[in-house]
């Protein structure tokens, strides 16, 4: 290679790095994908909490089989976060359960998405860490994603926040936002109350989600950032606001990469371990779970599925191949999309045949981070049209409907994406 060739290559690398630097700071990538992940996980958790409403006290209540005192002994050892340990009163438990429900609903709708993502995470951790011997793979996935969602700007589209932002004419001063101030103040007071008047013992450096980072630092930090954000938007519209926006984009993009990596790891590791299993090798693996008492809500369906040895063999091998191949198919958009279809179909099958609907919903919500933007927009257009047609047929209020069409052009804006 000549010196000039090396120089050209260096210039190119430099240009690519500058482009990458501009991209990860300038935009929060995959706005539609992160919105779908937000909607998917909050919907799954909301549905789960509603379904378990009659059983909530048995699962997480202070006097369920896994009692408050027993949980206390275990949590003294593992130091996991759960607001349910701050008090053993039944009223407190009902409050936390209700807050978990409400925050899931509001995150789903994208109302005050930033704040709700934090409350959603606290709700998930509080309930799941309170009774760790109740969860399955689906709960685990919700647990991880609730942590990651806090760092993503997942309300940029398909949220009440986005609708509110779109209604504000361009160039207009950001409004004072009384609701936001009230919410921020109430949460600050609540956090102060937790620190001063409960046994929570939130530490600044210990017992947090990451080594050296305690929950006090994280929660107060997020609260201060929220306040700083408001100040910068209102009183420092120039450089400070630009820098904060870039830092938020960075956090979002970092979390998005982690979410994608986590999903790849989930499938890849599941596939790699299966390759080593004798039942996955001899092509009968899927036959067994279909016949377990705890995972066969529809025995006749399981029998029908398992009636053909060839079909079971193809599904068994197919499962392993798709799981092992999935991360590599990301290099090719078409192959990736084909794999996504297969994975989602398989999860729908698992939801019904093995009686694991919440696990499957969570897995599908995680897969959705890889869905192509064009497909997501197409789905939403179809859904909106169907909704409008339905609404027009049931209530004839054409004027009211016409008002809602304003948002559509905003949804169709081409959006930067990581996944094509």
């Amino acid at each position: 290679m000549t010196i000039s060739a090396v120089q050209t290559a260096l210039v190119r690398v430099q240009a690519a790095m500058a482009r990458g630097h501009a991209r990860v700071t300038g935009t929060a990538l995959g706005p539609h994908q992160t919105a779908v992940v937000r909607i998917g996980f909050s919907f799954t958790w909301l549905l789960f909490l509603l379904r378990e409403w009659p059983h909530r006290r048995e699962l997480y209540g202070p006097d369920g089989p896994w009692s408050w005192d027993m949980a206390r002994q275990l949590i003294d050892g593992n130091r996991a976060f759960t607001a349910l340990m701050w008090s053993d009163s039944g009223l407190w438990f009902e409050t936390v359960y209700a807050l978990a429900l409400v925050s899931a609903l509001l995150l789903l709708l994208g109302w005050r998405t930033r704040t709700m993502s934090v409350l959603f995470m606290l709700g998930v951790l509080s309930l799941q860490n309170r009774s760790i011997f109740l969860g399955d793979g689906g709960d685990n996935l919700i647990h991880l994603m609730s942590l990651y969602l806090v760092l993503t700007r997942c309300g940029q589209v398909w949220s009440l926040d986005a609708r509110r932002a779109a209604r504000r004419p361009d160039g207009q001063e950001p409004p004072r936002d009384t609701t936001g101030i009230v919410l921020w103040t109430v949460l600050g007071l609540a956090l102060a109350w937790v620190q001063l008047f409960t046994d929570a013992g939130l530490s600044p450096i210990a017992d947090g989600p990451l080594p050296g980072l305690g929950w006090a630092t994280i929660l107060w930090g997020l609260w201060l950032i929220q306040g700083g954000w408001w100040l910068a938007r209102r009183y420092a519209p120039g450089e400070p606001r630009t820098v904060l926006d870039m830092l938020a984009n960075l956090a979002h993009n970092g979390a998005l990469v982690v979410i994608m990596g986590e999903v790849c790891l989930l499938y890849a590791s599941a596939g790699w371990y299966k390759v080593q299993g004798s039942r996955w090798q001899d092509g009968t693996a899927l036959y067994y779970p279909l016949h377990l008492d705890y995972f066969s809500p529809w025995p006749s369906l399981a029998d029908a599925l398992a009636s053909s040895g060839t079909l079971v063999m193809l599904l068994t091998y197919g499962t392993v191949i798709v799981q092992v191949a999935f991360p590599f198919t990301l290099l090719n958009r078409r192959a990736k999309n084909a794999m996504l279809v297969l994975l989602m179909l398989e999860h729908i099958g698992i939801a019904v045949a093995l009686g694991l609907p919440f696990f499957s919903l969570a897995a599908i919500a995680a897969d959705a981070v890889f869905l192509p933007t064009a497909f997501l927009l197409w789905t939403v257009r179809k859904a909106t049209r169907a909704r409008d047609r339905l609404a027009a047929r049931t209530v004839r209020l054409p004027r009211q409907r016409a008002g809602e069409h304003d948002e559509r052009p905003d949804d169709e804006k081409p959006a930067p994406t990581l996944t094509g």
Partner: protein, 226 residues
């Protein structure tokens, strides 16, 4: 993946970036590096936490655990390396004080069968039916040796947990008497190989019977006290 996107937003972002003052540019650059390192570290830890024990994880096991637990644990078993191939049913019986003051022993109640019946034709099984007893038994197995000796706090907690689940299902009064003691056993039955397979499977049921446990008021969860 992103080649098809128009370059305009990038150019705009580059301009905005270039328009910043030097300190701001430095802050952003440091943040880019920090986020890149954090994401790489996090995914590296995630990989090591699901990978089999290896050179790195053996050398840095303590640091890895410190990072992963309690909030970033990944417990996806997902039917690997082999799917579960046996039904484990938990059964319980009670020693009761009869109204005339005598002692009697009830027959075995198959509590897992109650779960199975609740899951049957149920599109949305509850965690109380699908996970509670099943995972409580896993917890018990993981915290006891073959002689049913508990190892530490976890062992005794798991016994307490099983007793409370059993008492919730049996109730404090059963067969017309007050429960004094309970005994639990697991009944493990291997699933037969599929009909097209020539594999011979021993499908006899094997029992693991735990010692009798005296029950106290502390073993009665809400719902068992009426």
């Amino acid at each position: 993946m992103a080649e098809t996107e128009p370059d305009e937003p990038d150019d705009e972002a580059a301009e905005r970036l270039a328009a910043l003052s030097l300190p701001s540019q430095l802050i952003v650059a440091v943040a880019v590096a920090a986020v890149a390192v954090a994401a790489a570290l996090h995914l590296g830890m995630a990989f090591l936490s699901v990978a089999p024990p290896n050179t790195i994880s053996k050398r840095h096991g303590a640091a890895m655990d410190d990072y992963t637990y309690p909030e970033f644990e990944r417990n996806w078993k997902l039917f690997a390396p082999n799917p579960l191939q046996q039904d484990i049913a938990i059964q319980a019986r009670a020693e009761i004080r009869t109204p005339d003051g005598g002692l009697a022993t009830t027959g075995w109640t198959n509590i897992s069968a109650q779960d199975g019946a609740a899951i049957h034709h149920n599109p949305l099984p509850s965690h109380t039916q699908q996970n509670e007893l099943r995972r409580a038994w896993e917890f018990y197995l993981g915290s006891h040796d073959a002689q049913e000796r508990p190892n530490g706090t976890r062992g005794s907690l798991s016994e307490h947990y099983i007793r409370r689940i059993v008492m919730l299902r049996l109730g404090p009064e059963t067969d017309g008497g007050t429960v004094q003691r309970v005994q639990v056993r697991s009944a493990t039955t291997q699933l037969a190989a599929p009909p097209w397979s020539d594999e011979k499977t021993d499908t006899k049921t094997y029992y693991r019977t735990l010692p009798w446990w005296t029950t106290t008021a502390a073993d009665l969860p809400e719902g068992a006290r009426r």
